[in-house]
């Protein structure tokens, strides 16, 4: 039997990869990178690197990067809330999750964006739970009904209660780490258990060009020590905050990510780190950051290829769109992105449901994107040899009446070979008319209602809910907030 090939796309050659990494090393050696965080600078100094305290500039030698690459794990395991279901982040495994921190939610009934509230965060978590092709949840909405100061921990608080999936999240303030860490440990029943079975990934974004801010470096250090995987989110904008050429932006991207990798390894050898990013092909006309641009996707695929070359797990923001409504652009950009990410074998792919330059989330789009992700998964399953011989035996006795519909061979394989979308329209024209001439977004909206009304939420058990509430309330009180919105699924 012939082994099934996993379809894969690689954009650049090995020698190109090595050239990009070589130049990244050159930059790390001179001029170096800015590190705002004093503790991170101390770690560099203790490792024998040249640190200029006045300018906060750190020189990173190749040897230290090589050591860090050697000590960073090649794959990371994440576990769901129950601690039973395991996900491998590494090799060519692909896991989709809804994007990050949108401050708007697209309201299907009005076609307008509005401020998300607690009820929307609950809906997001429950819908993510229902999406079979979206493996991880993420804290993808910022709740407008709680003060900003606790917005980071509050997202996680809601997500952990209403979805069992591993969660991609991050801090908005250095003090945000503590309550979020406590919540994750509460789910596991202890910090050691959490270290053994990580539940969350924390995003940390360097500031282009070549700077690790106080907040993000602190997040790297805190996560490294807690055994929580960090996702390095370099985000150069071509020709604005990074070189205009794709290759030039890749050099900066690799340098920024390697600096982040080193910070993590200096804080804790063996700390899990994911080589990720959210760069964009800066639009020189509009001054915007299109995530749906093909060049953005090319940068993503290429740095992910470099991450693989460095034997690190990878991440990208792909499968999202800059469209403001669920139109053709939304489908085309999300479809291309998710497909290309899967073909590139990117391990964590953030973006489902996202639109408008990562600023808005649409729950209808989340369900549509789930279907896109399903198609991408089917694609990378590849074409298998199911039988020996393949099919020649089926043609024995060929006659005018030969058909395949009733053959046992068909019955045996059709569900394995073919997928059946729920939202894509495969009706005849007349059937579509009789069903009310609905668009895909309309069908997604109906489906959303069915899921929310027809399925029981996968809620955390009572004791855990109580503990999560206690941690959240403590965090709120420390910030002078004494009441939080009521959590209910009504």
């Amino acid at each position: 039997m012939i082994r099934t090939r996993r379809p894969k796309v690689e954009l650049i050659s090995r020698s190109f990869i090595e050239k990009i990494i070589g130049e990244a090393f050159t930059i790390l050696g001179r001029p170096g990178v800015f590190v705002e965080n004093a503790e991170a600078r101390r770690l560099f100094r203790e490792a024998g690197e040249a640190v200029d305290e006045a300018s906060q500039r750190v020189i990173i030698r190749k040897k230290l990067v090589a050591d860090s690459l050697a000590s960073a794990p090649q794959t990371i395991e994440l576990y769901d809330r129950s601690g039973e279901k395991k996900y491998i982040v590494g090799h060519d495994h692909v896991h989709f999750d809804p994007g990050s921190a949108a401050v708007k939610i697209l309201d299907h009934s009005t076609g307008q964006g509005r401020k998300p509230e607690t009820a929307d965060l609950i809906r997001l978590a429950r819908l993510t739970e229902s999406c079979e092709h979206i493996h991880f949840q993420s804290t993808a909405l910022v709740s407008g009904d709680v003060p900003e100061i606790i917005a980071d921990s509050y997202r996680l608080y809601v997500g952990l209660q209403f979805s069992s999936k591993p969660v991609v999240t991050g801090t908005f303030r250095t003090q945000g780490f503590r309550p979020m860490f406590e919540m994750l440990a509460a789910v596991r029943g202890g910090t050691d258990e959490l270290r053994r079975k990580p539940l969350a990934i924390f995003d940390a974004c360097p500031s282009p060009p070549l700077k690790w801010s106080n907040l993000t470096a602190q997040s790297l250090i805190d996560c490294a020590r807690a055994g929580i995987p960090s996702e390095l989110i370099s985000m150069g904008l071509t020709g604005a905050t990074s070189p205009v050429t794709i290759a030039g932006t890749l050099v900066q991207h690799v340098a920024e990510n390697l600096a982040g990798l080193v910070i993590g390894q200096l804080a804790q050898k063996g700390a899990p780190v994911i080589f990720g990013g959210s760069p964009a092909s800066f639009d020189m006309r509009k001054g915007t950051t299109p995530m749906g641009a093909i060049e953005t996707m090319m940068i993503d695929m290429a740095y992910a290829q470099i991450g693989k070359y460095l034997h690190l797990p990878t991440h990208a923001y792909m499968g999202l769109s800059d469209a403001k409504v669920n139109d053709s652009q939304a489908g085309l950009e999300s479809g291309m992105g998710a497909t290309l990410a899967a073909l590139a074998g990117i391990n964590v792919v953030s973006g489902a449901g996202m639109m408008d330059f990562e600023s808005a989330q649409s729950l209808e789009k989340l369900l549509i994107d789930n279907e896109i992700c399903g198609m991408a998964y089917r694609l990378i399953e590849g074409i298998a040899q199911r039988d020996e011989p393949l099919a020649s035996q089926l043609f024995e006795g060929l006659g005018p009446e030969t058909q395949f519909l009733t053959m046992p061979h068909t019955r045996k394989w059709y569900k394995l070979e073919h997928t059946f979308p729920r939202l894509a329209d495969r009706d005849t024209y007349d059937a579509w008319v009789s069903l009310g001439k609905k668009s895909m977004a309309d069908r997604a909206h109906e489906r959303l209602d069915q899921i929310l009304e027809g399925t029981a939420p996968n809620v955390a058990d009572g004791a855990l809910q109580k503990e999560l509430s206690r941690i959240m309330l403590d965090d709120a009180r420390r910030n002078g907030i004494h009441a939080l919105p009521e959590i209910s699924i009504a």
């Binding site: 921190a101 949108a102 401050v103 708007k104 964006g113 910022v142 900003e148 917005a151 908005f172 500031s207 700077k211 801010s213 904008l237 020709g239 604005a240 905050t241 020189m284 006309r285 509009k286 001054g287 915007t288 950051t289 330059f357 990562e358 600023s359």
Partner: protein, 221 residues
């Protein structure tokens, strides 16, 4: 006169093609020849930056050209300014602007574009940089008697600080004292209206148009 006109057109040209060195050298020449500096600005440099605006509107110029020209304009003004009496500068200035990326946000590319274009179009721009504390905006604006406070935010999370600044102004009885303009990738006209800002510019040129409209000199072209 003939040679003066030729000098003016070379100044305009230097701005249009984005030749900073030429823009500065020509400004130096104007000083050496003791020309009327107002005329130099109004007939030499301003037509240049106006032409750049036209080329942008026509879709021929993109951001790299636009901002390079704005920087050239700034460089030429820096040469001329010390030689101009302050009363003349006041007459030339369209208004004073305090601008910065708001607290918690280190992204300042968009803000830099806006600051450059405002400066190139005759505003006195005090750029406070990125991650600017809310108090600092207000203190600086009071200190320089600014007409505008311009707030940028790239992050959806930090944009919320724009509302806080407006509330702080209100709390101190200063809301009417300054026009507050907001911008940034996640910001929208609706957001600006919601938080009670005086205006929203979706890009650098829109910000210039808005500031000209709302500024102390109103609709002067």
């Amino acid at each position: 006169m003939e040679s003066q006109n030729r000098l003016f057109s070379r100044m305009a040209e230097a701005i249009v093609i984005g030749n900073k060195k030429a823009a500065e050298t020509l400004a130096g020449q104007a000083l050496a020849e003791k020309l009327d500096l107002h005329e130099v600005i109004e007939k030499g440099y301003i037509p240049g930056i106006q032409k750049v605006g036209e080329l942008w509107e026509k879709g021929e110029y993109f951001l790299p050209e636009l901002i390079t020209s704005a920087e050239c304009m700034k460089a030429a003004m820096a040469v001329l300014k010390p030689a101009m009496e302050s009363s003349h500068m006041e007459r030339f200035s369209r208004g004073k602007i305090v601008i910065g990326t708001i607290e918690g946000d280190i992204h300042d590319i968009g803000k830099n574009l806006v600051a450059s274009m405002l400066a190139a179009n005759g505003f006195d721009v005090m750029d406070l940089g990125a991650d600017v504390k809310l108090e600092r905006f207000i203190d600086k604006a009071q200190e320089v008697r600014a007409d505008f406070i311009c707030l940028s935010a790239l992050l959806t999370t930090t944009m919320l600080n724009q509302r806080r600044l407006i509330e702080m102004l209100g709390g101190r009885g200063l809301r009417e004292r300054f026009k507050v303009l907001v911008g940034g990738a996640p910001v929208s006209r609706k957001w600006a209206a919601d938080i009670g800002a005086d205006g929203y510019g979706e890009n650098a040129l829109a910000a210039v148009r808005l500031a000209k409209e709302l500024g102390p000199k109103g609709g002067r072209p």
